[in-house]
Amino acid sequence: MRQYLMHSIAAAMIGTFVTGTSMAQEMDLTKKETYDQIMTWANEPLDTSSYKKDGDLRIGLSAGYLSNAWINFTAQSVKYEASLHPEIKEVIVTDAAFNPTKQAADIEDLLTSGVDAILFWPVDEKAILPVLKKAHEKGVVTINIGYNFMRDPSVTSNAYVNQWTYSEQVATEFAESLNGKGKIFAMLPIAGSSAAVVQLAVLQEVLKGYPNIELISSEYGDWDRAKAKQLTENLLQRFPEIDGAFSPAGQMSMGIYEAFDEAGRLGELTLSPGDDYNGWTKLVTKEGKWGSVTSGLEVGRAATKQAVKILTGEPTTTAVVVPTRYLDPAEAAKLNEPDRADDWFKTDLPTEFLPQ
């Protein structure tokens, strides 16, 4: 009897190995071709007939984290857009605080609450797949928001900001502003995140066209101004000559600026364009140089609009892509809201929807 049991367990295991689990498409984030492919996918029409629902709609927002300003604005813009559509009855927001196990539980609980669509940004793209599969099997629309593109049967659609284009704009303007010459370092976001991988890859790609620019170090500042400052201080100790810093995230650029300032070496520094972070635009206004590339904050509203389209059976594309564009210092200065804190973004959200 025991032998029979062992054999059947073994057989079951082997059987399941062979069929295997389906995984999201593995994409090489360091190649431009990947992004061209993503844009092609994005423009394909999406068959929404199977998702159409009548009556009131419920939207769930599963935030992987709510601990930085950009993400908070995105969450608020989802709520704002939802308020503009009378057919959306409620928006339920959960926060996983960087815990993928909690995000899985959050989404399960959202499903129990009977939502029709789940908008999300994952703590981890791979870790969220098992629970997204459950959502998909229940016929719930799933939309990924942000800088990574998830191509998987369980993800209905993406509201996407093209990282490659964004980083390329920053890198090219930066290289030009250096007149093609100098020693620079890169200040990147969280190590291992798709943002960090892409930004570095793009920089290296662009630098191929500028052989006189040398990348002396890559640092990971985690989108944290204080950490960026500390890392820059260490670099200033190690390297007697630094001409510029590649830092697409305005928040971190400020930390770099302060480090140079305190070391008395501000004159040497050329910063790359940042984004639309309020503290950064304040700095651009003050210095009159360096500029910004918009960071795609409209993606929250775009995701909600997409959800409504899918749920009402309207034709739409597989993904909505939010464009980014370069702003020279004068235009960037217009984005500044001087009486707001540094940790802020200028948006068209009405007052009651601004982060508290």
Partner: protein, 328 residues
């Protein structure tokens, strides 16, 4: 062999060696660091290191008192966060709110410490779990207060003054750190509070029987710890000049490592603020060395953990030799 039979048993074997131990380690480490990179011998670099260490260092002074009492305060990271965020919120970018912001943070830190102390002393519960729970509550309140963004604007001049160097050499923050250490040493050696802390930490039962106000001293010790953590948060705010969502995250590890390195272990009754200061320096030089040597961030975590373990074990051995406590 049992130290339990000694009423107020400070170590009887080589007390001077134990006190000197951490300073010896510090000198050795500096030499090693200097050999690997001559930047370590430049005054500018060292003072910058101390500037980076200021928030942890100031908080560690307060935690020393708690640990002398055989307790531990793990809420310091959260209190530092709260202090930095609250101060920025109160200041609101206006110069007239400068002292109000500073005062608010100090009071808040002290109040949290007070709550910790009362719950631990009168509730007679594990300080470890209690302060850990408190840190979660405080962290949650910080998030609620900030709404997820780094709100609050620092008053003009705050960062510029506190983060500057006098005469281009000596950072104001280092002076603040040294000042905090000096106050700590004064408290420990010259006040009745300080003496009571040592006595109670060495043998709580005997202290109680001798009539020492154990509960009151405990409450004050935790309040002091909370206050110093609040000051540490102000130092952190001054360094960066901006609020954050959780700027003090994880600092309790650094604080604990520094205090333990300095000779104040969980056994209580032994250690000193001076030792803690040396411990802070050792910790930051070691971590900086790891950075300069190009070791990955992961290595720093392992180093911190090993420091805690090895330093604890080493101090146990050098000291009275009665290590085997199976409780906190």
């Amino acid at each position: 062999m049992s130290a339990e039979s000694k009423p107020f048993g400070h170590s009887t074997r080589l007390p001077s060696l134990e006190k000197a131990a951490v300073w010896i380690v510090l000198v050795v480490l500096l030499l090693v660091a200097g050999l690997s990179s001559e930047a370590f011998f430049k005054l500018n670099y060292l003072t910058n290191l101390l500037r980076q260490a200021a928030p942890v260092g100031i908080a560690a002074v307060g935690v020393t008192f708690v640990m002398l009492l055989r307790g531990v305060d793990l809420s310091v990271g959260a209190v530092i966060s709260m202090s930095a965020v609250l101060c920025a919120l109160v200041m609101d970018g206006r110069p007239e709110n400068l002292w109000l912001g500073i005062a608010a943070s100090c009071v808040c830190g002290a109040l949290i410490g007070l709550a910790n102390g009362i719950l631990v002393a009168h509730g007679k519960v594990s300080s470890f779990i209690m302060t850990l729970g408190m840190s979660i509550v405080v962290y949650g309140l910080v998030q609620v207060g900030s709404g997820g963004t780094a709100r609050g604007i620092v008053s003009p001049g705050f960062r510029e003054v506190v983060n500057s160097r006098i005469g281009g050499v000596l950072p104001v923050l280092v002076i603040c750190l040294l000042f905090a250490v000096a106050i700590g040493i004064f408290l420990q050696s010259r006040t009745r509070f300080g003496r009571s802390v040592y006595l109670i930490g060495a043998n709580p039962e005997a202290a109680r029987l001798a009539g020492l106000p154990v509960n009151r001293v405990t409450v004050v010790a935790y309040a002091v710890s909370g206050l110093f953590a609040g000051l540490g948060g102000l130092a952190l705010l001054a360094r960066t000049g901006v609020s954050g969502t959780n700027p003090g995250a994880g600092m309790e590890f650094d604080v604990l490592a520094a205090v333990v390195l300095g000779g104040t272990t969980f056994a209580g009754g032994r250690g000193s603020v001076g030792g803690t200061f040396a411990g802070v320096m050792v910790l930051f030089i070691a971590l900086n060395l790891a950075n300069v040597a190009g070791l990955p961030f992961a290595a720093q975590l392992i180093i911190k953990g090993l420091i805690i373990i090895i330093a604890s074990a080493a101090h146990s051995w050098i000291g009275a030799g009665s290590g085997g406590r199976k409780q906190e």
